[in-house]
């Protein structure tokens, strides 16, 4: 039941194949199709959206998604919205609790390893932490994040490239509670950056299996969004033609449609969306 989620990938049903939606109204531009979502990764050059994944403790769901997005070459950062990092302990009443932004994944790993290696290997915590410490160094709290503050000190993190400026275009939360916390925090921060950000919620249960499948769902959404955003840049790009109709539709207004389509493909992950401000 509890194996390193990375090793379990083979057991997990692959996300449904993404069909191509040929759009006859669209003018095909040479080289515009260089970001095919079906390949599962985005080409190095070209426009990329920046992503931020959020869950309660910045351990399981957000980190799984962080890994997936970063592996697909998308700029990604991740956070937790809880007051503390909470991990299961020996009993349900004795969770292991750590402060955000302080203790590293490595330190947590070592501590749990010393505490009870069998238990934490069996419930998947040690493998999870071992994965996390390859992604970035410590769990971060969303509310403590200062958007727009450069993140050059995170250059060892996976998915770092593109997130240097400390802003993202898309936030994806994994639980309604986190979605609410993110919206509330953005209200509190007051939108001083005047920068729009699409905030999504995808409800994923907090266990290793669901995190893994949900990570695939998040990646699917992210690739879709990125594709649409990249296309917008192409269409309105150097050619500069001033057409009208569907092909003029930009990325932002397509978001509800993309999410609607995504929701039909992933009916088990109820999704929410809003456009908020940094």
């Amino acid at each position: 039941m509890s194996v390193d989620p990375r090793r379990r990938v083979a057991l997990i049903p692959p996300p449904p194949p993404i069909e191509a939606h040929p759009d006859s109204t669209k003018m095909e531009l040479v080289g515009s199709n260089n970001t095919k979502p079906s390949t599962g990764a985005v080409a190095d050059e070209g426009f990329k959206l920046r992503f931020c994944t959020v869950c309660a403790s910045n351990q399981n769901r957000s980190m799984e998604a962080h890994l997936r997005l970063a592996s697909a070459n998308l700029p990604t950062i991740s956070f937790g919205t809880g007051s503390l990092v909470r991990l299961p302990g020996p009993t349900i009443k004795e969770p292991n609790v750590y402060a955000f932004n302080g203790i590293t994944y490595n330190a947590i790993h070592n501590e749990l390893q010393a505490q009870n290696p069998q238990l934490y290997a069996a419930n998947g915590l040690l493998p999870m932490l071992a994965r996390n410490l390859t992604i970035k160094s410590y769990p971060e709290r969303f509310q403590d994040w200062v958007p727009g503050k450069p993140r050059l000190d995170h250059n060892g993190d996976q998915g770092f490239h593109g997130t240097e400026a400390g802003v993202v275009d898309v936030i994806i939360t994994c639980e309604e509670r986190c979605f609410d916390a993110v919206l509330e925090d953005l209200h509190n921060k007051g939108g001083r950056l005047n920068r729009p950000v699409h905030v999504f919620n995808i409800d994923i249960k907090d266990n290793h299996e669901e995190a893994s499948v949900g990570g695939g769902a998040i990646l699917d959404l992210a690739l879709r969004l990125n594709e649409a955003a990249a296309k917008e840049r192409e269409i309105h790009g150097a050619a500069g033609w001033d057409g009208s109709g569907k092909s003029r539709e930009g990325f932002d207004e397509k978001v509800p449609e993309i999410l609607g389509e995504w929701q039909e493909r992933w009916p088990n992950y109820p999704a929410l969306w809003t456009l908020a401000w940094f």
Partner: protein
């Protein structure tokens, strides 16, 4: 696409990126870098990639939280070092005027939203700097022009820009008048006599822009992107601009996120409605949290709950009924609904048929008012209320009411005179208690007392409607059974709710059963309910058949016997049985006391029926029922309990020994069950122990038990050794007999060459 400019711009971008990284590493470089690269990134002939990069970089620079506002302000209006002497705001203006690219415009509008307050403050401090303010004003009007026509991606940024402008051009709070640079940029900082910034104009502009912003919420075309962008930008305004907070909250409370529900539901429109509802809720909840004492909070709470209900109604696929009503949301407020029956109440004629005084004077259709008993109001209070009420009553209404009653009386008086309103019903052979009509009359006189005074001189010629309690519908058998079962269940629940007293005192024999209100007492009550309550009630003949034996037939006329065979006694017994079997080891006490009750009752009623039979037969000559008392219920249930217990017995179970030693009677059938335990080789010992115990401590059944042991010895192979000891003591002759047989068999066997035991068995059978 031309490759050449593209490749040059790619290399330029690479260079610019490294400059950007420098600035990200240390914000102090921003000013220098920005002014240095301004000519490279802005201008009509610059490739669009570079323009995008440049606009994005400007927006990023002015959004950077590390960079101080003062530095940003300088950066915005400082001219570049090259020949063009261009400032950043001029570059922004240039982008807006020349670029067609949505991405460029988007970034420029973002940058403008950040720059606008800075230039505003610069202008406050430097009233003579007309030029920069004019550039900024040009940017502002350009953006406001775009706001309604630009692609949505740009429009959302325009919305945010407008929000910033409103925030700047509305008076805010002055936190510290001595240090103007610390204050938030707002209209409050502008001196009254400022040559460029005229307060009334700015205020008017802000107010107009706010209307435009809130219009997005009220427009019929719900574009979730614009709506959520607006809602999410309003929070700041409510918080730091109390002057306009109420207006904004009212607008949000009037916003209906489910306008799309009237069009066909697609996955997209569902996403949009959910987004709008959720965003509105997040905004309002945030406002409530920040200001717990806000007078709006109750309304906000109401709105949030209503929207949650609507969302379930509209979006929940499982029980979707119909789209949300399209009426304005305020229409839901009961206080704002038009009152349709406010005036000119249409009160028709009283119902046909006999009319009571109450009917005559009833002028309302409201059932609540009709059934209200005025007697509950003390008379002096009534007097206090009535007088001012009569003084204030609407003349027209009063006249209407009087006329209505008059008209009724007139119609009634024209009717053929009814038989006099005698107090008792005229030709009713139905049973009617005497007091019912009298009470009715009393009620009538009460009504009369409160009726308009004109009513007092009514001739008492109208007949009174006789009051008749409607007959309850007949209960079906199923219902009867259900009610019965639920009653029984309630009795058991009462018992389960009672706790067993912590310490038990042994009351000895001198006590009364079920006298204390505890669990044990209740057990006794239940057991007696099961055994005695129903005796001789419903199923007499069955009882008699059971007790007296023989087919006694009594005609049961008008007796109600359920076809389904459900009987109260049996139902209680069944429940008792289940209750005991749920935890039989602990409830053996209960079981034995119940069975004792059964046994006792069987004996008593057996005697009773025997006596009856004797009487019927005419001084009976010793009927069988009297001499051999039967215990049908006892036997039935003791066997049933035993049968259910047996599978659970372990090889050294004391429970069964206790049970068998405590029940009031043991017969052959019970012993047969006990012997059957021995079929399981592991439990042979148990059977023997049980029998041994009974032999030792229950002399009345000793013989029977020894017989059982003998049977075991003879017929159960595994029981030989363990029963031998008992037989040796209680019935040695069996062993003796067997010994003799064995001897014979041995002799025969030797002669015939057959194994001894087989031969012995053959002989036994013979």
């Amino acid at each position: 696409m031309a490759t050449n400019p593209l490749s040059t711009s790619t290399t330029t971008i690479a260079q610019l990126e490294s400059a950007r990284n420098l600035a990200l590493g240390d914000a102090r470089y921003y000013n220098q870098i920005l002014l240095g690269i301004l000519p490279l990134i802005s201008g009509a002939n610059i490739p669009v990639e570079l323009q995008r990069w440049g606009a994005d970089f400007i927006a990023e620079a002015f959004a950077n939280p590390v960079l101080l506002p003062g530095d940003k302000q300088t950066m915005a209006i400082e001219p570049s070092k090259d020949a063009q002497n261009m400032t950043v705001i001029e570059a922004l203006k240039g982008y807006l005027e020349t670029s067609q690219d949505a991405a460029v415009v988007r970034s420029v509008v973002q940058a403008a939203a950040s720059v606008y307050p800075l230039v505003f403050r610069h202008t406050i401090v430097n009233p003579s700097d007309t030029q920069n303010w004019q550039v900024m004003a040009a940017i502002k009007s350009n953006i406001l022009r775009r706001m309604d026509s630009a692609p949505p991606g740009v429009r959302i940024c325009c919305i945010k820009f407008v929000q910033r402008v409103i925030q700047v051009e509305t008076p805010g709070l002055i936190s510290d008048p001595r240090r103007p640079e610390q204050n938030e940029i707002s209209l409050a900082l502008v001196p009254r006599d400022h040559p460029l910034l005229q307060l009334p104009n700015l205020e008017a502009e802000a107010s107009g822009l706010l209307d435009r912003l809130l219009d997005i919420l009220q427009s019929d075309i719900s574009d979730a992107l614009l709506v959520t962008a607006t809602l999410n930008s309003l929070g700041t305004l409510v918080r730091c601009r109390p002057v306009i907070a109420n207006k904004i909250i009212s607008a949000v409370l009037n916003f209906n996120p489910f306008k799309l529900a009237n069009s066909p539901l697609t996955s997209k429109s569902k996403v949009m409605m959910k987004a709008m509802e959720r965003t509105g809720r997040a905004l309002l909840v945030n406002l409530m949290k920040r200001e717990p004492g806000n007078p709006f909070n109750a309304r906000i709470q109401q709105y949030v709950e209503r929207m949650a209900r609507l969302r379930i109604e509209v979006l929940d696929d499982t029980n979707r009924k119909r789209p949300a009503p399209s009426e304005p949301t305020d229409g839901f407020d009961p206080s704002k609904r038009p009152r349709l029956e406010a005036h000119g109440q249409v009160v028709g004629a009283p119902p046909p048929g006999p009319v009571s005084f109450a009917d005559l004077y009833t002028l309302t259709h409201d059932a609540g008012a009709k059934s209200f008993d005025v007697q509950v109001i003390p008379i002096d209070t009534v007097v206090q209320i009535i007088v001012p009420m009569l003084m204030r009553i609407d003349k027209g209404k009063m006249d209407d009411a009087i006329n209505t009653v008059r008209a009724r009386l007139l119609t009634l008086s024209k009717l053929p005179p009814q038989p006099t309103a005698s107090l008792s019903g005229p030709d009713d052979d139905d049973y009617e208690p005497d007091f019912a009509p009298r009470e009715d009359a009393e009620q009538l006189s009460n009504k009369l007392a409160n009726a308009p005074p004109e009513g007092l001189d009514v001739p008492p010629s109208t007949s009174l409607a006789p009051f008749k309690l409607p007959q309850a519908p007949p209960i079906t058998e199923k219902e009867l059974e259900d009610y019965g079962n639920s009653t029984i269940r309630r009795v058991f629940d009462t018992m389960n709710a009672l706790s067993t007293p912590a310490k038990k005192t042994k009351p000895g024999f001198n006590r009364c059963a079920a006298s204390s209100y505890d669990r044990e007492a209740w057990m006794t009550i239940i057991a007696r309910l099961a055994t005695r309550a129903g005796i001789g009630l419903g199923d007499e003949e069955e009882d008699e058949v059971a007790y007296a034996g023989g087919p006694v037939k009594i005609k049961s006329e008008g007796k109600r016997v359920l076809k389904s065979g459900w009987k109260l006694n049996e139902a209680i017994r069944e429940m008792l049985y289940q209750h005991i079997m749920a935890d039989w080891r602990r409830r053996i006490d209960f079981a034995t006391s119940w069975l004792s009750e059964e046994w006792y009752n069987d004996r008593i009623s057996g005697d009773f029926f025997a006596a009856q039979t004797r009487k019927l037969n005419g001084n009976g000559n010793g009927s069988t029922a009297a001499t051999t008392p039967q215990t049908p219920n006892y036997t039935k249930w003791v066997l049933k309990l035993l049968d259910s217990m047996l599978p659970y017995l372990e090889s050294n179970d004391k429970g069964i020994i206790r049970f068998l030693s405590e029940i009031p009677a043991i017969d052959e059938q019970i012993l047969t069950r006990v012997k059957r335990i021995a079929e399981d080789p592991e439990r042979v010992g148990l059977t023997v122990n049980v029998l041994h115990y009974l032999i030792l401590f229950r002399p009345p059944v000793r013989e029977m038990c020894v017989g059982a042991v003998e049977d075991l010895w003879r017929n159960y192979d595994g029981a030989k050794t363990s029963t031998r000891k008992l037989l040796l003591k209680w019935r040695p002759e069996v062993l003796q007999e067997e010994l003799v047989k064995a001897e014979n068999a041995k002799v025969n066997g030797e002669a015939l060459g057959v194994g001894g035991p087989v031969a012995a068995q053959d002989e036994m059978k013979a």
